[in-house]
Symmetry: C2
Subunit: 333 residues, 2 copies
């Protein structure tokens, strides 16, 4: 299927001859011997079955076919050089795309800040954020549709050995109430008070819901007896609902900074209970990470990590699928 009857080198030689005016000078400009040029052009003429130069005179003259090939050849060479530049830009973070995945909470409150920082540093890299369920996000990383993701739940078991999962930060979940709620007066409420509240939650399949159930259960709270009044599918919607007095909710503290400051939501602590979950970074361990992903991991993630997890993170940024190592080996030869 469609052999190409010339090589890039031959086109470069053709161009050099046209520019320099003779085989000899072209040979000098390309730092090869003159017969090398002669042979390459002869081969080219043989392969194309058409003469490209009229020799003999003091300078080699292009035939019509030669001019035609030269014109196309210059276009081709230019395109090749453009290709090189695009690849270099990609390596220098002057281009390319970084795709980051996240689940609801992190995608809404944490990642936009990270991406903002990254964008400031590397304005020519276009960044995409994909907010989906933990499950879908994990698969996206596994399939390579997403470079890395930050999630707050468990990675599906079938992906646990494909993905590298690095505990990254703690996310504290707060119980929020409307300011005018009777219990909102208190700093801390008892576990029993929990049974007297109406809850607004994400749907029962969501990771954050499962995490909360898990932790409360561990604190001897029967989650089945907590009254769920409403299930919404966005954290912003839940906050608004709570603010409007429709009930209470568990949300990440990162999601309510502004509202607490403005006094439109109240946070109450629960006696002897701390609801924390671990956020994790996930990457595909079988996949080479782009320069952009590398930079994001090395330069942005640490700024938001809990100190205790920093060493792990550092290890990650050194473990890109073996390639650069090999490069060094080869260069030594």
């Amino acid at each position: 299927m469609s052999e190409i009857p010339f090589s890039l080198d031959q086109l470069r030689i053709l161009k050099a001859i046209a520019e320099e005016g003779s085989f000899k000078k072209a040979a000098d400009s390309l730092f090869v011997s003159q017969p090398a040029i002669s042979l390459q052009i002869q081969n080219l003429e043989k392969q194309l079955s058409v003469p490209l130069f009229d020799r003999g005179g003091r300078k080699a003259q292009l035939t019509e076919a030669g001019s035609l090939l030269l014109a196309y050849g210059e276009k081709i060479i230019t395109l090749c050089q453009e290709t090189c530049r695009a690849l270099e830009d990609l390596q220098n973070l002057q281009g390319g795309t970084l795709i980051v995945g996240a689940s609801q909470t992190t995608g809404t409150y944490l990642l936009p800040r990270m991406i903002g920082l990254f964008h400031q540093k590397y304005p020519y890299v276009s960044v995409q954020l994909q907010v989906h369920s933990t499950r879908r996000t994990s698969w996206a990383v596994a399939n390579g549709q997403v470079d890395l993701a930050i999630i707050g739940g468990e990675v599906p078991s079938e992906l646990q050995d494909v993905l590298q999962i690095i505990p990254y930060a703690e996310d504290e979940l707060a119980l929020i109430l409307p300011p005018n709620h009777p219990l909102a007066e208190k700093e801390t409420i008892s576990k029993e008070d929990l049974y007297n509240l109406q809850y607004i939650t994400l749907d029962s399949q969501s990771t954050i819901r499962k995490v909360i159930d898990q932790i409360l259960t561990r604190c001897q709270i029967n989650t089945n007896e907590l009254k769920v009044g409403m299930e919404l599918n966005s954290i912003e919607a839940i906050k608004n609902a709570v603010q409007s007095g429709l009930g209470a909710a568990f949300v990440s503290v990162t999601a309510i900074e502004k509202e607490l400051k403005m006094g439109i939501l109240r946070r109450v602590h629960i006696q002897d209970v701390e609801i924390k979950r671990i956020l994790s970074v996930i990457v595909n361990s079988n996949r080479y990470r782009s320069k952009a992903a590398e930079a994001f991991i090395k330069e942005i993630l640490p700024q938001f990590a809990s100190e205790q997890f920093l060493p792990e993170l550092e290890k990650l940024s050194k473990n890109n699928k073996q390639f650069l190592d090999k490069q060094v080996e080869i260069k030594d030869n």
Copy 2:
């Protein structure tokens, strides 16, 4: 200066892998062994210092750099194929340009008919006609600016061994008069009558003028005593001037066909004198002739040639600068 760190073959391999989904299948589709593919891609990755595929899974996955290179590679390959097609079209007379030179008379009356025929046969070849003096036309052929030319005069001596000059046809020059001229009544006039006419001619440097002088001198006519009333620089202008009664003129019979038929000009013969010149085809013997020039020589020229010159013309069409001969030699091996 600007080495290109990949080859067309490598791009074709990259494309094949992307299309077939695996190194193995790409190898099969390109009819080479699998290691050949592996090695080429490894070299490519080394040269670009960036991995192009994530291996290991059931199918090879492109990295971001791989996709980028693939996208450019496809453009490059397409352009190469376009180049091939353009070259083929040139060979098949489905494209390209033929540039024909001529001097005044042939350029005005003979070549337009030839070019018309050629264009009917090869509508995709664009034909240019350049009408200049014999001298300038000869140089244009020598320099390769013109593929071939038909001239009616002598080729400058310094070009006689660069150019191939093939006598091609006879051009008869006629003496024309306005219909109402006293001598226009006669079929034939005497040499002496010539001295009683006023002549309208091209400028004294023109070839046709020199040819006429030469022939008349040979017939014992003293050209210095012929009265030149007007020098014009176009044959059409001369015809109009004669028609208007401003004098007599010598012009090619091919230039007055229409006017004689319409009776607006009269031709008179001269006792015992025939003014004929030989038209010649000139080509550059050191130069490879394009397929289009070849076709023009082989298929168009014979239709207008004097029979006596046909053998020479045939020889010419077999003598393109040795190239196809070589091809055959090589194919035998």
